[in-house]
Symmetry: C2
Subunit: 205 residues, 2 copies
């Protein structure tokens, strides 16, 4: 199994292959199945059904060997599969940095969105290959696949920023992102969409 580099971290050359979505040499890989996303989808029954129907992989995160340690600057590639559950497009759990620090995402392939929420305002950046989405310190962030192909992006983030997933369970993200269909509430397939998105407020949950 691949691991983070021991401290002190040596200078490194890391091969970034956007087409393959890989970093070489690679560090740990994180896989998030539907069952890992409890409490995040608006339609809990649809989420339970998706877990029962094979508990699919929603996204994976492959890291370089630069560790998540203060003063280091690790990188990772996240790939979100296309799909929707209860009409809500497949997404990452989302997190806030407990140690507020900025982060960037660089779109690599597919079409996605970057949702940011500071507890009061919500912002949306549409991500295509070559888009850098900038998350200032203090803005929680979640990524969403809005296309019909896997959506991948490179993340670069301060190693001491940390990941608070509970923040999003408590505060939400301001908006949810749905596939733009005639009747979103009926959509429950894993088909993704290229027809656009609709936003609904968390306050309606």
């Amino acid at each position: 199994m691949s691991e983070y580099s021991p401290l002190p971290v040596p200078p490194m050359s890391i091969r970034f292959d956007p087409a393959a979505g890989t970093l070489s040499p690679e560090g740990p890989t994180l896989t998030r199945r539907m069952s890992d996303l409890e409490g995040l989808f608006r339609d809990r029954a649809a989420w339970e059904q998706a877990v029962a129907d094979g508990d699919p992989v929603v996204y994976s995160v492959v890291s370089s060997q630069v560790p998540e340690v203060d003063r280091e600057l690790p990188q990772s590639i996240t790939t979100i599969q296309p799909g929707a559950t209860g009409g809500e497009l497949w997404m990452t759990k989302g997190h806030q940095h407990p140690n507020h620090q900025g982060e960037i995402y660089l779109g690599i392939s597919g079409r996605g969105g970057l949702l940011m929420f500071d507890g009061a305002e919500t912002r949306w950046v549409e991500m295509t290959p070559g888009t850098i989405g900038y998350m200032p310190p203090g803005w929680a962030h979640r990524s969403i696949n809005i296309g019909s192909e896997p959506y991948s992006f490179l993340a670069v983030y301060p190693g001491g920023a940390g990941h608070d997933y509970g923040w999003v369970l408590e505060h939400g993200m301001g908006l949810r992102v749905l596939a733009a269909t005639d009747d979103n509430t009926a959509a429950n397939g894993n088909t993704g969409t290229d027809t656009g998105v609709e936003f609904v407020a968390y306050s309606g949950d």
Copy 2:
């Protein structure tokens, strides 16, 4: 003139065009001419001659609008022109981060090298498009164009790391990077090279 964003920095979408070497919207651009590189080339007479012969632009750095402020994560694209002065390949001034924090460079176009020095050891990473060079905290770094075309890379770095250029004037970088020719000491053109590089120790200065 383009400027950094005022604080607090809003969420941003930045268009990264590797082919053009641009970030849009763009922030300030820094231009370094030969005269800005005083004291850095081994052959001072050759450097003085190059300054007299039109004082060419050696490299430029175009930034995004994310400011160099603690907790932010700014980005920039550096483009180094091909050339050699006194046989020594054109390069950036090089700097140490007074507030030790890691940084990454992503090769975009051309062929370059990333020289790192922690005051005792020197490391070299050859940079081509798709190479991520990782600079751990505490390693001073300098970039060198080792090809015959402009060499460009995207940098992502913690905004509070700072830039100490005097550190390199005082400590050097351990090694100098020369064009690999039959007689480096005779080379003094702006032609660059695709024939490889040679390293010589600063201790011989």
